[in-house]
Amino acid sequence: MVCPFLEYRRESIGPESEAVRERAFDEPRAYCTAADRFVQAMRADICNDRYELAHDRDCEIYLEHAGDERFGSENGEGTESEEDPDR
């Protein structure tokens, strides 16, 4: 079962860089509606539960937002925590 926060989109409305917001991709890409941004290629495998991965075990974004009221349940806010290569 894929992550309920996963959508495939060509455009982002999220907090990504201007260079990303300004473009529409040729192919729809994995987009996390909880984090409001496109996800990394490797993270998309988690979203799709590929291999032995499971979004409800392996994705910290899902775990933060699983009960988010925006998505019809009871939890609070969370933030995207993509690995920052610039750390």
Binding site: Y8, S12, E16, S17, A19, V20, R23, F25, E27, P28, R29, A30, R37, F38, V39, Q40, A41, M42, R43, A44, D45, I46, R50, Y51, E52, L53, R57, D58, C59, E60, S81, E82, E83, D84, P85, D86, R87
Partner: protein, 282 residues
């Protein structure tokens, strides 16, 4: 370390590897990052023109997601060869969470890649994933590389992996010269500090050559140290999407041009693909 610095003083040619695409982030991080075979092929030609002699390659699906399929690597290689005839092709065999069997698939193109990466041990990803890279997998990948005449590029993510290099040398015969990429950055990687760089090159096996890789903003300073201490360098959008703080790189070639300029100023000419083949014993 002395022998290494002698290579700098001697002005040994510098092998520049360009990591063009990777398999972690993609165009969502920098729209200039090539993802399709045609984009990667054109990027390979541009980095070769800028001074790279090796291209480190991953394969992707049309939507930018990871692929380990031989067919996808073949499409990338065919595009690279259509645009850059002589550059050395190096495939990644990395793949966090992918089945071990899939990790072998990039070795099976026709012709095989001249080089392939061999991750020397575990590496954490995100909050809940680990790329395990067991010794069993390392050995089986190495065995297939030997069968197919592929030179392994030993990826040393941290100092513990230096022990793993010695362990691999005890378990298996590696063709000379041993070639190891020393990786510096956040998380499980070696902490990016100059002392740790010097320590790492001091702890390599006798006669080993090294490649220097700093993630993110550490790419440029560690490449510079690699040049000065007689190593080789890897740059590219797989490892760093910025040219400088807050400014996305416009291309892989832009990053290669900068390091080639530095090498020239510091007295080390960039190696041609043929010189790289000679240095690495391909």
């Amino acid at each position: 370390m002395t022998a290494s610095y002698e290579r700098y003083l001697d002005g040994d040619p510098l092998i520049v590897t360009a990591a063009l695409t990777g398999g972690v982030h993609g165009k969502e991080a920098n729209p200039n990052l090539p993802e399709t075979p045609e984009e990667i092929g054109r990027a390979a030609a541009a980095v070769e023109e800028a001074g790279a002699s090796v291209v480190h390659l991953h394969a992707r699906e049309p939507n930018g997601e990871r692929s380990f399929a031989t067919e996808r690597f073949q499409a990338v290689d065919d595009a690279v060869r259509a645009h850059a005839e002589s550059v050395v092709i190096q495939h990644s065999t990395g793949g966090t969470a992918a089945p071990d069997a899939d990790r072998h698939l990039p070795l099976r193109t026709d012709p095989p890649p001249e080089m392939a990466s061999l991750d020397m041990g575990p590496l954490n990803r995100y909050e809940h994933l680990t790329s395990e890279n067991t010794r069993g997998l390392v050995d089986s990948l190495h065995e297939e590389m030997v069968e197919r005449g592929i030179k392994p590029e030993l990826e040393v993510f941290n100092d513990g992996h230096l022990n793993e290099v010695f362990g691999l040398l005890e378990r298996r015969d590696l063709a000379d010269p041993v070639y190891a990429t020393l990786i510096f950055g956040p998380g499980t990687l070696t902490r990016p500090r100059p002392r740790n760089f010097l320590n790492a090159i001091d702890n390599l096996p006798e006669g080993a050559l090294f490649n220097t890789l700093g993630f993110g903003r550490h790419q440029l300073p560690f490449a510079t140290m690699g040049i000065l201490f007689g190593g080789h360098v890897r740059v590219g959008l797989e490892d760093n999407v910025y040219y400088r703080k807050g400014e996305l790189a416009t291309s892989n070639a832009q990053l290669v041009e900068r390091v080639a300029r530095l090498a020239d100023e510091l007295g080390r000419p960039v190696a041609t693909p043929e010189q790289a083949r000679e240095i690495l014993g391909l």
